[in-house]
Point group: C2
Chain length 453, copies 2
């Protein structure tokens, strides 16, 4: 067992001590299982987006300055130095906004941590177990750092996946490098002083830069600390440190309470649909109308949705014109779900958003904010042209903490994302390796399987 | 002439428009001259520190992952890719805390800008004039961004050389790459979302990481924007943008007022002594006692200094034990100045701080805070053992805006810093090239001259 934090040790040192001591053998099996699921989901998102313009542009810009081919770029043929691999894979993992979410802290935990770690672990020929232990250390550290500064930190405009993610990447890489406590303290300090990422970037490619740079800078922090590059001992809790400088609400105890006992990773969630979480219950309801009650677009006179107020705040776009705008339209999402039975990347493509059948149906979807509806719930009524009335409630949408995606669903998502990029056969092989990651002597086989041939 | 900013255009776009349009031919000659002086001072600091542990450790950590030998590391034999050259040269330039200072905004302007720019300009075979125009664009942008968020930004704990410096590097590199206005907007946005650097790091190697990362990330921002990687249009002034997220006092007009007319670069200053600016007047006074009045350590019964209150706040360490601690002791600095007639790196070495003659004399130095003394002034009385009393006042210490270091003094500083690293002959050649930088067809000759053979 890890030692609990003590009153006399600062948060930075307590987190460093924890991260430096995590061992695979000590991890409860649900935690190992969730780590495996998180990594499957992360890899699928990164492979799926690996040919998107955001990734292409970033790699085209950086490639002339990159180093030796040390690590895989997921979904791609090229290899590059581990720092650029961390950057590019971190960007890829977030482009589709289909990555994992810790719902309490608005954080996408795996992108910064796994992107840094896979590159480093491949280069060092680490085992799957070393990889998993380091991954857990990273996720636990970043989630706790985020908790210490929320809610003001996010509200003022920081993108916490970037700002806290860099701590996770640094902690994970420090663990994999076997750094001692003091060097891990310095790595966390170097992460603190590179922490960045503004919400003003939302809606642009720069949003995906955040987990990429967090991965790259966190990895660099661990490498610098390994080479005796020093930083502060109190980078998180100090007067001029991360928490006080980047937030007006600070609860530093959140960094350390229950460390090694209560696992943040067990509250991680995965998206079945390629859009913001708030629309997911509405999509769930419409998929159920279609699949369980046989409702078709032609039948529908109107669909009435009672939704959490945030749905109307964030996703009330009545006439979206692009796939990206479609992600901010509960009307489009519901219409596409009735017609296609899904809410994947295809449903949020430019073509689908402008498809006349979808456009016609979305005009017959109504949504009303209801403060009595939870954020992962919806109440839906489908009134058909023949007068039939179907009514249903979703209590906890698929992918929520209470209704997690099954392994089968996660695997189907992985295949759907990756097969267009890697082909059926390669995807099956990659998924098999990812599912037995704790048995691999060299994580490099897994990294290679996730790259293009 | 540049166009002045208009009311209808946001700060980010106005700065981008300015940076994209700066031409060497339009720069007033005092601005060109100051740019040249700033670059000489920057190069000297970077060469002087190029073998220090901070630089060695950073380069040892990064080297295995670096790319092709595209650009010089100042003072060193190795060459590396331009992103790592920007990082390492930016670190080197700040290690000695001997770099330039804009006294109104606590910013060291040249480190982030010149370190990014020299690497890029060498790689692109830019001319000296292109280099200078881009350098001026960068310094003007970073200083204005800093003004917009001070004082709260610095007071809460941001190291403005990192946080604003990244904008300067991005603007300068955008100009050198010839990016249009929109791409320059995106480059500034990418800079904004990578802006970082905490004062908690002061006293550790990580402080010097700030201008290094600012240089590297600013360069990367311009390269990404060149490859059509997008960001926000309102990264500085937007609701979730740089200014409002990183400061509680925002005066956004500071970004644009007088742009292209009033030059921040003309308020830049250079340090004659290798320590914080506040002790400089006291050193000046003691050098004058020694050189003009023939005062020796043996003569001194006591020296009484009336100093600005900040001197006692920051540098009242009575018994420093290391060179670094000596920089925070006005008593040590004054004693060493009486004995050596200088305040260079030698006077702030561990050896000199523990030299019995210096230790003995520092015990006979008194300093008293006096709210009537300006920050660049001192009143000093030397009482000698024979009863003689010498009194003098420094109104504006050497290196202040009102009493700038002469070119001769700057060149002497350059030689003193660089000769131990590069040797006399090479230093003379480098200085000659730096002094005629506006005549060079390819800045690469200058970069090569500043590297080791």
């Amino acid at each position: 067992m890890m030692e609990s934090s003590t009153v006399t040790t600062g948060a930075t040192r307590t987190l460093a001590r924890y991260a430096a001591a995590v061992r695979f053998e000590d991890l409860p099996s649900p935690v190992v299982n969730e780590a495996r699921r998180a990594i499957v989901n992360w890899a699928g998102c990164a492979i799926g987006a690996s040919g998107y313009p955001t990734v292409e542009n970033a790699w085209r810009a950086m490639r002339p300055f990159a180093g030796a081919p040390q690590a895989a770029l997921l979904g791609r043929q090229e290899r590059t130095d581990i720092l650029h691999a961390a950057l590019v894979n971190g960007i890829s993992s977030h482009v589709l906004d289909f990555d994992d979410t810790h719902p309490d802290i608005f954080l996408h935990p795996s992108g910064p941590v796994a992107s840094a770690l896979l590159a480093l672990a491949e280069h060092r020929h680490a085992s799957g177990r070393e990889f998993l232990a380091a991954f857990v250390a990273g996720v636990e550290v970043e989630c706790r750092v985020a908790r210490a500064v929320l809610p003001a930190h996010y509200e003022v405009g920081w993108h916490v996946t970037g700002t806290a993610g860099v701590f996770g990447a640094a902690a994970a890489c420090s663990r994999l490098l076997g750094l001692n406590e003091q060097r891990t303290v310095f790595a966390l300090g170097l992460a603190a002083t590179q922490s960045s990422g503004l919400r003003e970037m939302f809606g642009s490619m720069a949003k995906s830069l955040h987990p990429g740079r967090a991965a790259q800078n966190g990895l660099a922090s661990a490498l610098l600390a390994e080479a005796d590059f020093t930083s502060a001992d109190t980078a998180i809790e100090g007067k001029r440190g991360f928490a006080h400088v980047l937030s007006t609400t600070v609860d530093i105890g959140q960094c350390t309470t229950g460390l090694g006992e209560r696992y943040e990773l067990l509250r991680n969630t995965y998206k079945p649909y390629a859009c913001g979480l708030v629309i997911h219950p509405a999509i769930d309801a419409c998929v159920r109308f279609r699949d369980k009650m046989g409702v078709t677009a032609a039948d529908v006179d109107r669909i009435d949705l009672a939704v959490h107020p945030m749905v109307m705040e964030l996703t009330a776009k009545a006439a979206p014109r692009t796939g990206l705008e479609g992600k901010f339209s509960v009307f489009h999402a519901a219409a596409a779900a009735i017609i296609d039975g899904d809410g994947g990347e295809v449903q949020f493509s430019d073509a689908r958003v402008n498809d006349p059948a979808v456009v016609a149906l979305r005009g017959r979807i109504r949504a009303v904010a209801d403060a009595g509806i939870a954020v992962d719930a919806v109440r839906a009524v489908a009134t058909l042209r023949d007068g039939t009335r179907h009514e249903l409630s979703i209590e906890h949408c698929v992918g929520s903490v209470r209704q997690p995606m099954t392994d089968g669903h996660l695997h189907a998502k992985f295949r759907a994302q990756c097969e267009p990029v890697l082909g059926t056969e390669r995807v099956a092989a990659a998924l098999e390796l990812l599912n037995k990651i704790d048995k691999l002597d060299d994580i490099g086989t897994c990294a290679l399987a996730c790259a293009a041939a």
